[in-house]
Amino acid sequence: MASSICRLTTKTTTLKQNGMTHAPHPLCSTSEHQLSRRQLLGSAAAGAGTGGLGGLLQPAVAEELKRDDKQVIFVWLDGGMSQLESWDPKPNTQFGGPFRAIPTSLPGVHIGELMPHTAKVLHHTSIVRSVHTQDNSHSAGVGRINRGDPKNRGVVYPYLGSAVAKLMGPTASGLPPYCWVKPYSGGFKTADAGFLGAKYGALAFGDGKPPNNLLLNKQITAEENTARNELRAAFSERFSQGRSKDWTDANSYVFDVADTLMKRMDLFDESKVSEQDRDRYGRHALGRHMLMARRLIEAGVRFVKVNSYHWDSHGDNFNACQSLIPQFDRPFAALLEDLNERGMLDNVLVIAMSEFGRTPKINSHVGRDHWPEAWSVAMGGAGIKRGHVIGRTNELGTFVEDQEYDVGHLFHTWFRGLGVSEEMMEYDNDGQPLPVAHDDCFPIKELLA
């Protein structure tokens, strides 16, 4: 039902939250163009999807960020991966399909035979098998799930990556907080940001390629680049004398981020990666993209989304799964192994999911259709426990037994696991308070470390 608490201008509070220290002047009653320092820096991040604060913070805040330097890899299998052929197999039952279940590194836990690599490292992640969501269409479902399906308040909520960029900002690396590795086109993708505004969008690397203009122009040497940037900063500095410094800072900030990115061109150079790693992740798109995700996370990006498309197996599901799931299994296992080996899983949350699962019923097309009723999501790392299986479906895999978890619960769990503080659990949209996740949902306690 469409209903909402809508916009209202409660300006004083907005200003306070934006870090203004002095009492607002009675006339100073608008929030939208009151460029406080923090707001501007946030906005500076703009377009790059670098929404956040970066190296320009007061030391105290920077210190806090460092301590909580949690990161996220979010793997999105667009179209809907079949839970019955992956995380929650029901072999030898009416809807079980042809595949076997195999034992995993977690005693007593089986997953689909198409995921032998993940089975070996399953203790590095957890599975929630009792996910129950509300939408069985792609057109609405993709957005609803990515936004955590909050209560409708008449605004477009941000996708998870934009939300994390907003709530946590970039890490100390100075790299944009929200990067997106995907097939097809890249660039500055702002749609994910919703009401947070374009600045919290994603910097997308289309098929792993760098964004436009990232390569230092051939006319410019590295020395010249440094020299011209110093001179630019000097002019900007002079301009800010007798004027607010915020605009100068914001402008400098985006140049700093650009410079940081330009210095990491190696991230886009596959030849920098060992042949062995490339084989372990697989040479296909999803393998290459997940390998890139690992490197971006190592470089300090806050949130990396990896997309894979064409998982919508309405027809010929079992052959499709046989072709598709191994493309996920191998790099996913390699990713968990690598993060674990580097001791990064304590700080990096890895999530793999789709907009829904697939119907237990196998249609005449030997396919499975959309099934939000009972499906599975893999997650673990940072403050989310690894090696646990939460919830279960009934014998036929048709419905959840006991407690169902909606994506709102998952959002709560993730934010908690990432250390988002209680007071940050509400956005301020021009005075309209908006809970960052569905009001009626709560974190899954068993998953919180």
């Binding site: 209903s3 002047h25 608008t30 163009h33 991040a45 377009g47 605009w247 009001d439």
Partner: protein, 560 residues
Amino acid sequence: MNEPHKRDRLRLAVKRRQECDVVLSCEQSLPRRNLVVRALLCNLFIVLLLAARVSHAADPVHQQIDRLIEAKITGPVAPRSPDAEFIRRVTLDLAGRIPTADETRSFLQDDSKDKREALIERLLSGPEYATAMAGLFNVMLMERRGENADWDRFLKTSFAANQPWNELVRQILLPSADNEESRGSAWFYKRRLEKSGQQPTDYAGLTRDVGRLFLGVDLQCAECHDHLMIDDYKQQEFQGLFSVYKNVSIRNEKFPAINEKSITEKLEFISVFGSEHQVTGPRIPFGAEFEIPPPPEEQPKKKPDPNAPPAFSSLKLIAANLPSPENSLFCRNSANRIWFALMGQGLVEPLDQFHSDNQATHPEVLNLLATEFAAHEFDLKWLLRQIILSETYQRSSRTSEETIEGTYARARLRRLTADQHLASLLVATGNLQRLLPSESEPSEQYTELQKEFLSAFAAEPKEPALSYAPAVKQALFQLNESQFLNLLTPQENNLTERISKLQPRDVIDECFLSIFSRLPTVSERELAIDQIPDNEASRAARIQRLVWAMLTSIEFAVNH
């Protein structure tokens, strides 16, 4: 206003909203504004309007503005802007670009007392005025939804003729396919009626935009129920306007055009919080409902021509009554948006949140501008002139003293629109002639540069471009984009070629005049002169570095 109290009330409402069943009682517990009061306020406005019509003998409006603004300033006030600051600011506002070095030089050398007034008049009657206004209002009204040549022509011819603002709006609200000059005005509707992917036509979005842009009210939340926080925003205000736009469709023509169907019965709607069916005929938000005439008794047997005007056109009623001097919301919203464009701050903000709980920072100024604008028959040039002539507009953005935000004690920094920024780049680097010898025939190079520039600097489609929004992609563009860097290569008498043979001191002055529209300070001259070596071999490269650093500094990127 007791802000904490309001916040509490909001929180309470949020909580109540969560307990859906009690929302109605919560709603009722909010104080309801008496409709009679609103009606009285409206009448008062008309009285003021009439008064304005007979009080022409009073002080010029710009002086009245200054008096009202200054009365509320506490604390320090910035001095009047230096001439250089003023010429840059006003040229950006009225010509859509920075002044050329020559224009600045001669303005600085001009000793006449009324040179600012003369400059304003020159710009208002200059050839670039219409282009600048078309650019400004295109971005304001279309929010980067895409360009259209007919629409562009409509805007430019309208502004060139200084067509009254309300007439211009009227043509947008009731486009006519028959008038070749103005038919592009349908682009406002047509573009919004286009389907995006599999989404159905967004009639609600169009309804919302008409409210936002022409009346300053964002009724989005009132689509499904009375606004929970804003007493004034009732569902019927939205639905009444929605009933009009539901009957508008795209007409298949090579130019933007629409068709309208007759409304034959009232629109039935229901609040998501209630079960009571309500009905409304077409209405302008906060205005009276229009009567729907009974349909003609004899139904034509033939299939009617879809392009024929409807028997009952509610668009006609909207167009006749919305942009009128009697519609206070229209007048105040228009004045507020133009004030915002020139001052970087709205008297009411957010710009689309006009309601009785969101008073203007300077209600008297808003009323003055609204009534006088209407009284001057919505003469846009008149309004621009009055604001620009005010000391408030002409204050410097720089002062060493702490002024209080929002009081207009100093000029606010404003973002350059992407179009102003690009045009200024070409002017500053002396490449305008080469790339854009005439506006009607842009060079291929220009079109390509414009495309790349806008993709880096323009706001996203459907996002109002209101505040400064630096972005990494803009930085990357300025750092590495070849077409941009190419503007700095000496060629065809552009800036870097022109100054290549000058003495270092003159190089610096010419750069400052061309790019920052001012002369350097002593310390800046020292900073810059170090950049220019005597060594011929590296000289050209160092000049380019200097020009690049100035162009990419914050000073160039803002209207200050």
